[in-house]
Symmetry: C2
Subunit: 210 residues, 2 copies
């Protein structure tokens, strides 16, 4: 098996970590790049990545995260947020950007633009939220996979109060809503879970060939 698979084998939900090791700025730059390069439905990138280092802010967040220690002790806290309002203005900004970056003119893209505007104007807030959450999870997993390849540990947290996070991180003012939290760190050499074998279906149990 290749190095890539070995790195995926290496990854596990670490419980204990080394508080003295920080993720470097150079690695953070790459994590941001991996996040940024995630493809999204219609190319609309309905997301932001919030990187939290500030200890006071993290203490406040911890209270609304079942007091999980990773919130304050991890190297950094990544909060994946979705854009709440996908409307004509948001879609216009997408096409303004596309025209600047690619060879297409706004006229050439008008059919696609109208289809997109029609599509989102027919979605209620619930469907828009569901759609944006799906995209954010793609970005989340893209980053988790990348971190495994870089041998940086992470373990996604769903158990937190999104409304309180939005308030503390001032995301509500920006039209954003937090979706999932990913503390990142380096594992401790003492983590007893590191020697625990992975529980997975065997190839024969999980693959059907036709």
């Amino acid at each position: 098996m290749s190095e890539l698979i070995k790195k995926l084998e290496w990854r596990y939900a670490t419980k204990d970590f080394d508080p003295t090791k920080k993720v470097s700025e150079a690695d953070l730059e790459e994590i941001i790049e991996a996040f940024r390069l995630t493809p999204s439905s219609f190319g609309l990138e309905p997301w932001k990545l919030v990187i939290v280092e500030n200890p006071e802010i993290r203490e406040k967040l911890q209270v609304y995260s079942w007091n999980q220690s990773q919130i304050t002790k991890a190297s950094h806290l990544l909060v994946f947020a979705r854009v709440k309002n996908i409307d004509d203005n948001y879609i216009d900004a997408y096409f303004d950007k596309s025209v600047k970056i690619t060879w297409a003119t706004r006229e050439q893209l008008s059919g696609y633009e109208n289809m997109m505007k029609w599509n989102f104007s027919n979605m209620n807030d619930d469907s828009k939220s569901r759609w944006a959450r799906d995209q954010v999870f793609l970005a989340l997993w893209n980053v988790i996979h990348f971190l495994a390849q870089k041998q940086i540990d992470s373990c996604a947290i769903w158990g937190f109060d999104p409304a309180k996070y939005d308030e503390i991180l001032e995301l509500d003012k920006l039209g954003l809503a937090s979706v999932v939290v990913l503390p990142i760190w380096y594992r401790s050499e003492n983590d007893k879970y590191s020697s625990k074998p992975k529980v997975r279906f065997s190839k024969d149990e999980v693959v059907i060939r036709k």
Copy 2:
């Protein structure tokens, strides 16, 4: 930027591909490994990977996929399916497997087992389906990221008739439901989209630091 980021830059939604190139069995083995190593909520792996090569089956599937040519022309067709019924039997099988693989005894795991059974017995079919779909999308993106690192092309397809897929692939008989389709192939050197720059938010537009 590292090789890992360069490979993510390399990935794009290819439209045109080389019909003479097949993904090797050795690479398929690794794709299966990447799929298999995806972590899942509660570790329940509510998924199967269906790999379709058979041309007759693919012709039948194409009819129910808006006649998209990738269905028959790609090297292989990966269909990501979810397990429909997460019940006490399914959870029992998980714990039987865990006990075999890890050092834990069934008694030690009984609190976790009861919590899981309680959790799923309180979910209706819709919530179970939504939960399993979320897991399948993690596996999907894990595989897409892995394919980018291996420089194998892929482009996920949502536009297909899941009920017909389940019938043609005989997934319904196995308690499975297809969720998303991923044709894999090698890009054509003539694909005019290959030179199209990626449209993405800049780092400053997409990252908030606290």
